[in-house]
Every structure is written in C-alpha cells, then in structure tokens.
Amino acid sequence: MELVVFTITALVALVGAVAMLLSKNAVHSALFMLLNFSSIAVLYLLLRAPFLFAVQLIVYAGAIIVLFLFVVMLLGAERAEDDRDRIAWQRPLAILMAALLLGEALYVFFARANTSLASPATPTEDFATPVKIGEALFSTYLLPFEITSVILLAALVGVVVLHQHRQAAES
C-alpha cells in the first residue's frame, strides 16, 4: 500500500519537475514547482517526518512559491524567452553533462548499494515526532538554531538595503 502511494507521489514529483523545466511561461513553472514541492511534502509524511511535512508546506509551498509568483508577475517575466542561443553548443552540452552527473550518481548508487540503503530492520513511528525534534533543537542544536536567527536577520537587512539603494539611485 505504501509502495503504491510512493510510486504515484514520485511520478507526480517527477512530472512536476519536468513540466517546470519545459513550460515557457514562468507562472506555469512556479505552479508546477508548487506541485513538486507538495508531492515532496507527501513523501516526508511517508518517511514519518510530520514536522517537516508541515514546514515544507508552510515555507516552501506557501511562502517561497508566493514570493516567486509575486516577483514573476511584478517583473512581467512570464513572457517566453527567445529560443536562439548565444552559444550554439551550450544546450546539448548541458544536457550531456546532466546525464553524466545522473549516470555517475547511479553508478555510485549501484556499486555501493549495501545495507545502508535497505529499510530499517525495526521501523518505529515515533523516532522524529515534533516533540523530539523540538527537544533536540533546543538542546543539542541550540547554537545552530540561534545562528539561523542571525541568517534570517541578515537576509532581512540585505533586502531592505537593496531596496534603499535603489530608491536613492532613482531620486
């Protein structure tokens, strides 16, 4: 049963990713990315990560997609990019390189496939309940947790500074 849910969700995620890549309109790309993020959230649920399921939906499917859609519409960037390439061999080479990367990953995967990739011997449901994650965040990982607040503050200040600079240049 779980395998069926996984297969369907994985297919949806892959289709969303490919469609994001191929669609000409940036708004459609953002919406296909939303599909991809939501199906990854479902996979988190399958992996017994309810906290990350919620965070993925709120932060990625909520905040980040809204930000992307907002910027796409603000810039009017949804029109198609022109198809001619500055460097003719760029696109085939890029696809070849990506295929090589995937092949390499698959090679390492199958050459090293061992016990670490099997399912856990005794799976439990509650190894990462929100309570346990919260306890770990505020004890073992307290310092990194505080540092993320600095990162968020830096991002906030950076965005404001960029905006201020632009206003000063315009006036």
Binding site: L21, N36, R48, L67, A77, Q90, A98, F109, A118
Partner: protein, 100 residues
C-alpha cells in the same frame, strides 16, 4: 515499507532535472526555481536516511536547510528585482557586467 534506495533514486533524478534547468534555461527566475528544486531533492535524501537510521538528526539538518533556503530566496529575488529595474531583463545572457 518503501526501501530507502527508492527515495535516494528519486532524489538523484530530481537533482539531475534541476541541473538541466540551471544549465539550459535563461530566465533567471526559472534558474532560481531549479536551484530550489535541487535543494529539495537533497532534503528528500536526508529525510530518507533519517528514517533509515531512525534518528531525528537528519530531519533537523533539513530544517536548517529550509531556513537558509528561505533567506536565500528573499535575497535572491530582491537582487533580481534590482537587476530588472536597472537592465529591464531577466535573461541571464544579458546580465553580463558586474557594474549596475
């Protein structure tokens, strides 16, 4: 019970699709979306291994990655808006000077 290897394979495939997006698309916004997708695929592998070893540590790392990704998106999109105001384009082939 889905084997961990399936999740890792899916994550590798999503990462490769993200790489193709970064290398072939020239709309800076879509390049950015592809980067987000690569981050997401790495997160998926981390959560899969957290479940494999029945440990919450992998999930906490994913939590931090999501935080950093959110900050990165905010700054990156602000940069894109600033560049668009100056150059009137989001085509990364046109954005080829360091001065604004």
């Amino acid at each position: 019970m889905v084997p961990t290897s399936y999740y890792v394979l899916l994550s590798a495939a999503l990462f490769a699709i993200g790489v193709v997006g970064v290398l072939t698309r020239r709309n800076a916004l879509i390049v950015f979306m592809s980067v987000e997708m690569m981050l997401n695929s790495a997160n998926l592998a981390l959560v899969a291994f957290a479940q494999r070893w029945q440990s919450a540590n992998g999930q906490i790392l994913v939590f931090f990655v999501i935080t950093v990704a959110a900050a990165e998106v905010a700054v990156g999109l602000a940069l894109l808006v600033t560049i668009f105001r100056a150059k009137r384009t989001t085509d990364i082939d046109e954005i080829n000077t360091l001065r604004g």
